[in-house]
């Protein structure tokens, strides 16, 4: 019998904070908009001799907000520390970070699982640090752009509580959603504003030991996170199966080859010689200040999911989908408020045709120009049977592509649904006479043929026939032929 293994995964998530200025100087933090390298720099963020850091208060606020959103306790007395190492992207030869006393610790995040029961992941700590400069390696040298150096960065560290890659992905996705809910990070992974580091070990199923772990650094997408984790889990299992031992080391992820690679020699065996940053006094956070930050917390995905389930009578998975992004949840609620149709119906429209369009066109919600009111009108027209469901989809796609008012599109495309029995009866008679074989089958007891015939009705009436009326007439007409 072969041994089965259980992965043990912890994540460190680095998230840049959306502040105007950098963490310790007044340079703009918007390095993505910089016209050229090394234009958003000053003596502080380039580490010139004698320059001193000054804490960005906004960054502290945002960090506390994230801590509170992750159910952490905010440490009223927290300190900065120097993490010492040499690398050309680190101008001072140390990174100002937090070590012994981070701003927030001991929190948790419930991640939606497959079942109704969410899984709880412990958030060990949330701390503030500064981003490094950007290196561009060329043939015989490297170029350094300090525009990114000193941008506020949050590090969110979980306990190794995740037992499979899906849970890790779910946790990472949820953290991203929360950061976006809080408007502290754009979640734009392609720009590198969110980066993951996975700590992975595997152990025999049923065991509670913690075995040697490896760290995979710089995972810049959900895809990289899942692929690298899955690869590393398999690799470690193979090592144990072969009777070997996993070596504690830092790994990189080679996206092209789909393998983790040892980074020994570069990052290995670092002793960061942490000590309290003497240039910055400890941050003293008053209870009143913490309370005022807490009052800024918006409704978060979990609470919103629960509310959507109750208030709109949605299923858990439906509510989770709609609350995955705050703008989407807001949009749903806006449509609901303007519509006479049930929230369930509105959910199907949004989760169905609307999101299909978003995915196909690769557009983010904020780039879609469909006022909730018009979407609501369209859905109501379908509910009222003014247009059929299929025609509704055509109208929706037209509005998404070219804008317009639903009523006018219906008129222009001649899509109004008809419940005029004469018009429908005429169509049915023609279909039945064209398809005598199918009628025979029906009369012989094959009732499923009704669906196929209904499809013919929809086609010949261009979707305008009210399906309920059409079905009734179709069955009635065929029954008449039963002698």
């Amino acid at each position: 019998m072969t041994q089965t293994y259980e992965p043990v995964i912890g994540l460190e998530i680095h998230a840049e904070l959306l502040t105007n200025s950098k963490m310790f100087c007044s340079c703009s933090a918007d390095y993505g908009s910089a016209p050229e390298p090394n234009t958003l720099i000053c003596p502080v963020c380039t580490g010139l001799p004698g320059a001193l850091p000054v804490v960005n208060k906004k960054a502290v606020e945002l960090a506390a907000l994230v801590g509170l959103a992750l159910n952490c306790s905010i440490n009223p007395h927290n300190t900065f520390a120097r993490k010492n190492y040499y690398y050309p992207d680190l101008p001072k030869g140390y990174q100002i970070s937090q070590y012994e006393l981070p701003i927030a610790s001991n929190g948790y995040l419930d991640i939606p699982g497959d079942t109704e029961n969410p899984q709880r992941v412990t958030v060990r700590r949330v701390h503030i640090e500064e981003d490094t400069a950007k290196l561009t390696h060329e043939k015989n040298h490297a170029l350094v752009d300090f525009n990114r150096a000193g941008v506020p960065l949050l590090e969110i560290v979980s306990e190794p509580d995740m037992r499979n890659v899906e849970a890790a992905l779910s946790y990472a996705t949820r953290i991203r959603a929360i950061l976006r809910y809080l408007e502290v990070n754009s979640g734009d992974m392609e720009k590198g504003v969110l980066r993951f580091e996975a700590n992975i070990s595997v152990r025999p199923s049923g065991s509670s030991e913690l075995r040697t772990r490896t760290e995979i650094k710089n995972l810049n997408s959900f895809r990289a996170l899942t692929r690298a984790s899955a690869y590393e889990i398999e690799r470690q299992i193979k090592v144990y199966e072969a009777g070997g031992e996993v070596v504690q080391e830092t790994l990189g992820w080679d996206e092209a080859r789909g393998v983790t690679v040892s980074q020994r020699g570069k990052e290995d065996a670092h002793d960061y010689r942490y000590f309290p940053e003497p240039d910055l006094p400890p941050l003293q956070l008053e209870p009143a200040w913490i309370a005022s930050i807490k009052s800024l917390l918006p409704e978060l995905p979990d609470a919103k999911t629960r509310r959507f389930m109750e208030q709109y009578e949605l299923k858990r998975q439906e509510a989770i989908l709609l609350t995955s992004e705050k703008p989407l949840a807001d949009y749903f609620e806006a449509v609901v408020s303007k519509s006479r149709s049930s929230p369930k119906t509105i959910h199907s429209w949004i989760a169905g045709e609307f999101m299909r369009y978003m995915n196909d066109s690769e557009l983010a919600l904020e780039n879609i120009d469909l006022p909730a009111e018009k979407f609501a009108q369209l859905i109501d027209m379908v509910t009222d049977k003014t247009v059929s469901g299929n025609s509704g989809k055509i109208v929706l796609n037209e509005m998404l592509k070219n804008g317009g008012v639903p009523q006018e599109i219906v008129k222009a495309k001649n899509l109004a649904q008809v419940s005029d029995t004469g018009f429908i009866q005429e169509a049915i008679e023609k279909i039945l006479s064209d398809n005598p074989g199918e009628v025979e089958q029906y009369l012989a007891g094959k009732e499923t043929i009704v669906q196929w015939l209904m499809g013919q009705v929809a086609r010949s009436t261009k979707g305008k026939a009210d399906p309920n009326v059409a079905k009734e007439l179709l069955v009635k007409t065929m029954e008449k032929r039963r002698k």
């Binding site: 003596p43 580490g47 320059a51 001193l52 002793d271 010689r273 003497p278």
Partner: protein
């Protein structure tokens, strides 16, 4: 006006300037001439900024002529320790690694003095990065004591002390990490203060020990010291460790009587090893204060014996990190011949750029911070640092100020201690404890021993520079040690 106005204190020159008896241009030109004539003998300057000085003197004269916005420092020539950044003027820390480094920005104190209308004469020599007690660790030149050219001026602000002593500027700024203002002040017969940590902005001061470093004036007398500190002190938004509390007008209350105040004499400072002439000068100073109506009491600073190890341990730890940025990639010396990778550039640059003492301290400091040793060294030193601070708080709860020598001996000869770092470290024994504790201390001349100046220091309560100036000024009103000039 002719004569020796370069030897006059600021407050007297100021009167001559506003009375239009001399111009800043005349004064500055005379001072520059004197610097070119005399400084080759003592090497107090690393850089003389003639053009800038003449331009600033011209502007100061315009300001005085207009009668507007005149400060006590308008038109007064001064020198800066070469660890204080000056935009457009090379700032070397007397290190090869910064020999050609020209900052893009000026330190806050430099901007404040420029705004006040002071005239920058140049940058002064120091022990490399402030690491040393004799100025012999400068990568460029040994500064000599104007009182005896065979002797050291003390360190690390030796150039700033010697330049004031030899009247090559009217005042200078030094920087005191563990006595670096007070010890050379004592060796060269000038007045100098290490203010409370956080009283003067460090922005632009090239850090040695971020939690100890204090920029302080070096002057001819206490009154000048008060004037200059008033001009450079205060909250700086660019230095989070500066205090919010307003800066008192120190010079206004100088003449308050000291009668009835109490001086504490730390008994741990008066043990074996003190030169007889130093001890007798200190005893004489105590008698002078008694004659002024002050009470004298013995007090205890029980943890004094730990001050030197705690000081050096924390210094090396912080310095090892502060000096990491000198890596040859962005500014200063860069040695990359045959470098295979960036690590090679770091190694070659730092090997060539740093002197032995700097390397010694970086290595020891990195060791003290490394995992497995942190608790035993750095953390323990921080705990003892709290005890040192408490020592001063306790002692100063029962007395107004403490009085002690600045050094166990007068200035020693060049080369006398260079082969024995520990012996060199011991010359700082009386001045180091105040820096981990953060309290202010004023050094002033109090006599001579075998022809060389003796310094004493007054140590005060946190942010209470006022009492130091008041007590120091009272002494200088009845003594003339500070008016003695070297034979140069």
């Amino acid at each position: 006006m002719t004569g020796q106005f370069h030897t006059l204190p600021i407050h007297q020159i100021h009167q001559l300037l506003i009375d239009k008896k001399i111009s800043s241009m005349e004064l500055t030109q005379a001072m520059l001439r004197r610097a070119y004539e005399i400084d080759p003998k003592i090497s107090s300057y690393v850089t003389i900024t003639d053009d800038l000085a003449l331009e600033q003197a011209r502007q100061a004269d315009d300001r005085i002529a207009s009668g507007e916005n005149i400060t006590p420092l308008t038109g007064i020539p001064f020198a800066l320790k070469d660890c204080i950044s000056t935009r457009g003027v090379r700032t070397t820390c007397s290190s090869k690694i910064l020999a050609e480094y020209v900052p893009q920005y000026s330190a806050t104190v430099v901007n404040k003095l420029a705004d006040a209308g002071a005239v920058l004469m140049g940058k002064t020599n120091m022990d490399e990065f402030g690491m040393g007690s004799s100025c012999e660790n400068s990568a460029f030149v040994d500064t000599r004591n104007p009182w005896d050219l065979e002797r050291v001026p003390g360190g690390s602000s030796g150039g700033s002390a010697a330049a004031v002593s030899a009247s090559l500027c009217s005042f200078s700024l030094g920087e005191d990490t563990g006595g670096s203002v007070r010890m050379p002040a004592g060796f060269c017969n000038v007045t100098g203060i290490k203010p409370t940590y956080g009283r003067v902005s460090r922005y632009g001061l090239i850090s040695l020990v971020s939690s100890f470093d204090c920029i302080g004036p070096m002057t001819r007398d206490v009154q000048d010291c008060a004037i200059v500190l008033e001009a450079i002190a205060g909250k700086d938004e660019r230095d989070s460790t500066t205090f919010n509390s307003p800066v008192p007008q120190y010079h206004q209350d100088l003449n308050k009587s000291v009668k009835g105040m109490t001086i504490g004499i730390p008994k741990e400072y008066f043990v074996s090893g003190m030169e007889a002439g130093v001890e007798s000068s200190i005893q004489e100073a105590i008698r002078t204060y008694e004659a002024l109506g002050m009470k004298v009491r013995e007090v205890s600073l029980p943890n004094t014996r730990y001050a030197l190890p705690v000081y050096y341990l924390l210094l090396m730890a912080e310095a090892s990190s502060n000096l990491a940025r000198f890596d040859g990639t962005r500014f200063g010396l860069s040695v990359s011949e045959n470098a295979r990778d960036v690590i090679d550039i770091y190694l070659q640059t730092r090997r060539e750029g740093f002197g032995d003492e700097v390397k010694r301290r970086i290595m020891l400091g990195a060791y003290a911070l490394s995992s497995g040793y942190y608790d035993a060294y750095y953390l323990k030193a921080q705990k003892v640092r709290t005890l040192l601070r408490r020592d001063f708080e306790t002692a100063l709860a029962s007395v107004d100020i403490l009085l002690a020598p600045t050094s166990p001996t007068t200035a020693f000869k060049l080369g006398e201690k260079t082969n024995d770092p520990l012996e060199m470290y011991l010359s700082d024994i009386y001045v180091v404890a105040t820096n981990p504790a953060g309290v202010p201390a004023l050094a002033l001349p109090c006599g001579f021993s075998k022809g060389m100046p003796v310094g004493m220091q007054l140590i005060g309560r946190h942010l209470d520079e006022q009492t130091l100036f008041q007590v120091g000024h009272a002494y200088q009103q009845v003594t003339d040690w500070h008016e003695q000039l070297p034979p140069i």
